[in-house]
Amino acid sequence: MNLLLLAAAWGVLMMFLSVSGISRATIRTIAQVGMGLLFLSTVAELQGIVFYDLNAPAMLGVDRYALVMLSVLSGCGLLYFLLSAKDMADVGSDYSEYFALIFFIFCGFVLVLSFTSLLMLFLGIEIVTIPLYILTGADKRNLKSNEASLKYFLLGAFSTGIMLMGIALVYGARGSFSTLELVGASGIPTQLLLGGLFLIFFSLAFKVSVAPFHFWTPDVYDGAPTVFTSFMATLVKVAAFAGFLRLFDHGFGSLKSSWQIWAGILAVLTLIIGNMTAVYQQSVKRMLAYSSIAQAGFMMLGVYGLGDAAKEGMILYGASYSLATIGMFAVLTRMQDQTVEGFNGLAKQQPWISALLAVFLLSLAGIPLTAGFLAKFYMLQAALPATYGMAVVIVAVIMAAVSVYYYFRVLQAIYFREPSEGVSFPAFAPGFVRILTVIALLIILLGLQPGWLLRYLYF
């Protein structure tokens, strides 16, 4: 619970910094230090060093899964801050507020990952999403950003309503919000419980953008300022999935005979829609937005399959997908032309950046020896034992092959095309390149030795 307190404190600190009148560079450094502390404190807690114990088992229960996931999230968050914190200044004038909001979102992550009561799940999701509505609309001068924000808000609030109805029905059936008592001793679900379960399921499916609840995703990701899209599409989505898995594994796991098949169907639908629509996108940002839906389809396989493989897979997927996408977006923000053509011939002028981008794209496409491959492998392995698992796996494998097509279009532009006339590539700062290199190395390391991360789950 170190992270919760620290993130809240740092959020408040960042909030007050906005009126202190100190320079942006200092604000940025403070934010980066804060995120580093979040990461260290989580790792410390993983080693058994707890600074602050909330001790409210009826509300929050931190387990190793939550801690490993949180350290992945805060670690990725640190890299994200190091890479992209500068870009936030271009969004608007409320620099330090953006950091404050992101720190509050991290508080939400803790709740979403360690809730033992549906109330905490609800609060966690709201603490994550309300700042997101604001971050989406942070570029106030840009109509696209405004529009994305409003859409996200209306649809998000709508889905929250559905979730609350679900929670109410579950409460009616069980008389408690505790996730430990969601299913009665008999294990036979009542209609009321099932109804509530499904409504919560739909709402969470919305939050993680699983089809047919995914429609907001491309619009919002495309409209939001790119720095924040990077954050939303990665860490937020991963945290939401982790919460999804937590609820449906621990809470509703024994009822899986009723909902599991739907998770499988939605995963398949998501994979198909996400991949098929990503194929013909010209803008790399939009392509990544659609591909994030496709990746959500893969993560949904974890919810479908459950079990240890799903947990491990979710952690691995969270790490690999977040790292690669954060890296991609960080470079994309700096590109002059953000279409696929904008990357034409990058390899000739920036060979090292191109090689790093290649690692990210290969990982996203799930090519072996990158973390992306193993993450997909774990997810497929999780889905395999489930009912109709083989069929779902086959669809997923086919769709993974389709995804290669559009990721490789960017790779092809980078390596096999001549630079377009009049497009110059930005100069990347050495520090920026170093962080990107670290990310690429992490991706390869995780692709070779997933045990390096996953062993923390058990020891």
Binding site: A58, D94, F104, R141, Q191
Partner: protein
């Protein structure tokens, strides 16, 4: 004579009618007023269920603060006329149909639920009183209570971020 069922039916009809009027009113101001009506009806239900605390909060927070805020925004935008362009009739029809179907499905699924013989305690019971709720809130529920402050903080920052006027208001779409 037990008047409770009559009050229940009266409040229910009032809530449903106001809700319907809220959804169908062309003029946004009427919609707000009808919604306030619904809230009052719901507060009436709370009182019927002896949830006094929530009844009061509902009136003060919802009907009082939130709806006034809505009204204020509508007035600010000068939307108090029947200017809203209407949706395509087919889309409206399909929307209503989808919502209706959902109601039908849920009701049909839940009507035979185990609740058939269950009763909600009307009138009696002390759990709706401030004393009981307050005690619970500051003991078992103190963690979420504290955490919801974070929600307000971020909402506050958010409103400031969004509401503040940007120095250079250049629009590009």
């Amino acid at each position: 004579m037990n008047v409770t069922p009559y009050i229940f039916w009266f409040l229910s009809v009032l809530a449903l009618f106001s809700a319907l009027m809220m959804v169908t009113s062309r003029n946004p101001v009427y919609s707000v007023l009808w919604l306030i009506g619904t809230f009052f009806a719901i507060s009436g239900h709370y009182i019927l269920l002896n949830a006094q605390f929530l009844a009061v909060v509902n009136i003060i927070v919802y009907a009082g603060a939130i709806m006034v805020l809505f009204l204020f925004v509508i007035m600010l935008m000068n939307l108090n006329r029947e200017t809203e362009p209407q949706k395509n009739r087919w889309l409206k029809f399909i929307g209503a149909l989808a919502g209706g179907c959902l109601l039908l499905v849920l009701v049909a699924a839940l009507k035979d639920a185990e609740l058939k013989s269950q009763q909600a305690m009307v009138g009696g019971g002390s759990i709706g009183l401030i004393k009981v709720l307050g005690k619970e809130l500051f003991t078992r529920y103190v963690v979420p209570f504290e955490i919801s402050s974070l929600l307000f903080l971020s909402a506050m920052i958010g409103a400031a971020v969004i509401g503040k006027k940007e120095n250079s208001q250049t629009l590009n779409s």
